[in-house]
Symmetry: C2
Subunit: 360 residues, 2 copies
């Protein structure tokens, strides 16, 4: 998969250095900056442009509004056997997420399975990054997160009461890249509506409806309505039981319970503290109960037999892995508009713009 | 929810006694019979008619074909900290499922979280039964299972390579019945096609397609094709990425990896032992890390606020709970055709038909 864009490209190293300089200027400690930048740049490398460095604008807004404590470090607030709770202390979500997945992995290595719930967190980028920490170490990883904006209705309703509630899962294979599932439990994520609006494309019917249940296909109007809680994204499976909408509703509730109820994080748009995001991380060490690498062999057989039989089948995680290969070799394309935003952020933070395009 | 049927009704006790007499005559030990019958009757009480006593015909076939060891007892084959593997020893799945969920719950009470993978199992009825064992005890439960029949294609393919791969989740609330999600990861389960065929109803487009990708709406033809691997059920989210089909594919793979890869169970239709079904059970004790019943309070607030705001919203698990109230009071309706099947099974097992309708 090669980006079909004329946008100038920048090396991962250059983008990491620029991002670090901004976060350090904002007052973040060097250790949490390193963790955060690694997650952000990996996300851009993986082609998930909506959740990497383009989030700097949102983080700057949260900082300006005093809704984010950039000096905070996550800390373990309860730890019993194979399960722990981490308090993000209202810092950026990446350090809390990495601390939590790392702790869950340590617990899995001792107990076979480990889990960590996180409260008082913020946006942590792409969920897929965290589960890959597990599979890169030979473990199985699962992660879920609550999200800030109420954008999804219960099945049978039109009021936005749930977030897009993503879930991610990763399992190691014997050959090549791990299986990585990374998905919102709505039919599409919010950034998809934004992307269609930016491109002036009509939304497919079935993605978005207004509060009266009418289908919205104008992407601009839809994105505006989403922001003012005047529309909702359809649940995975659609808006009827016949099409499976009750299953998307069920999945969204599973994510909300795991991410919120276990750690007392807020439901989106509810309570006094709408910024109290919650995450849930689970790691399994298959080697303890199924030694000899058999689990990875089983995953390998399952996936490779599917592709051998039908070459058109795309295994989840494969597009991101192809993006990483291309972008690591050729650089990460940044739209000119994003580069302008980064330049403005540098200006306000008092750091120089060091980004220069590859071969530029 | 009251059954709109003229079928004669039978008390749960009468149905349990009849089912026990059959399983005992088949040679099952009394302790595994008691566990199996409890699961089967609870499933009929919950309105999940496809997975309760109506399964006796299939179990009798498996027994006759020598593919099921009714004398078997499940045993723990690996046990390390918070994770264990249980071998079902090719018995019916219910005793293995109950043993596994009970062990996962014990582990959760000690370690905060516990998981058990099961191999060499068979059909275990409705997944929802097992997660309710956890929530009835104040824990959060999650369970998945592989299924026997290849009935679902990978996204981008038309070859049946996956089962309907169900997942279930349950969390306790403060008031009333727990949240119970119990869903296949295909748009509908196989029994839905059978039910439409029995009623002579047309299938909605989008449920089933043949090997050339053509939509099948004739339910009889569809059910026949499913049996001969000439058709596949659509993934949750549909058959395109635009409609979210890649998410249903991802979920199906998650279930297959958890249920099969961890325990070396077979993928459907693959390997030498297509009867080696696998399950996965997870339990979380929220009290250890979030004491004072706060987690159940959080779930209660989440769900009751949704229904308060929009009374048309149906919380997953609510229909089954209403079925249980009605059927416990008024009996379980059995279609005449099922009663005839049970009578035939009794005849072949050499036990009397003791079932008599309520008030009959």
């Amino acid at each position: 998969m090669i980006d079909a864009t004329d946008d100038a490209r920048y090396t991962a190293t250059a983008l990491a250095e620029q991002t670090s300089s901004i976060l350090l200027a904002w007052g973040m400690p060097a250790d949490t900056v390193a963790i955060t930048v690694d997650a952000m740049i990996d996300t851009d490398l993986s082609g998930v442009d909506s959740h990497g460095v383009s989030m700097l604008m949102m983080y700057e807004n949260l900082k300006r509004e005093g809704r984010l404590d950039l000096l905070a470090r996550p800390e373990v607030s309860a730890d019993l056997g194979a399960f722990a709770v981490i308090d993000g202390n209202n810092g950026l979500g990446h350090p809390a997420g990495v601390a939590a997945m790392t702790l869950a992995m340590d617990k899995a290595r001792s107990h076979g399975i480990g889990a960590v719930a996180v409260r008082n967190s913020n946006h942590f980028g792409a969920v897929g990054y965290y589960v890959r920490l597990a599979s890169d170490a030979g473990l199985i990883g699962l992660a879920t997160t609550s999200t800030r904006t109420p954008a999804v209705a219960a099945l049978g309703g039109t009021t936005p009461v749930l977030g897009t509630n993503p879930i991610a899962f990763s399992a190691p294979r014997v050959h090549g890249e791990p299986l990585v599932v990374d998905m919102s439990t709505s039919v599409v994520a919010m950034n998809k509506i934004k992307a269609y609006a930016l491109k002036g494309k009509q939304l497919p019917p079935g993605w978005l409806q207004d509060r009266d249940g009418n289908v919205v296909t104008d992407a601009d109007e839809g994105y505006r309505l989403l922001g003012s809680r005047g529309a909702t994204l359809t649940l995975l499976g659609g808006s009827t039981t016949e099409s499976g909408g009750h299953k998307g509703f069920g999945l969204s509730l599973i994510v909300q319970v795991l991410s919120g109820a276990l750690s007392n994080a807020s439901a989106p748009g509810r309570g006094v503290d709408r910024d109290n995001l919650g995450h849930f991380f689970l790691a399994i060490d298959p080697e303890l109960v199924n030694p000899g690498g058999l689990t990875a062999q089983n995953v390998e057989e399952l996936l490779s037999s599917m592709v051998d039989e039908e070459p058109g089948v795309l295994i989840p995680g494969q597009p991101e892995s192809e993006y990483r290969a291309d972008r690591a070799a050729n650089g990460i394309p940044l739209p000119h508009s994003l580069l302008r935003h980064i330049e403005d952020i540098c200006g306000r933070a008092g750091v120089p713009l060091t980004l220069a395009p590859v071969g530029g």
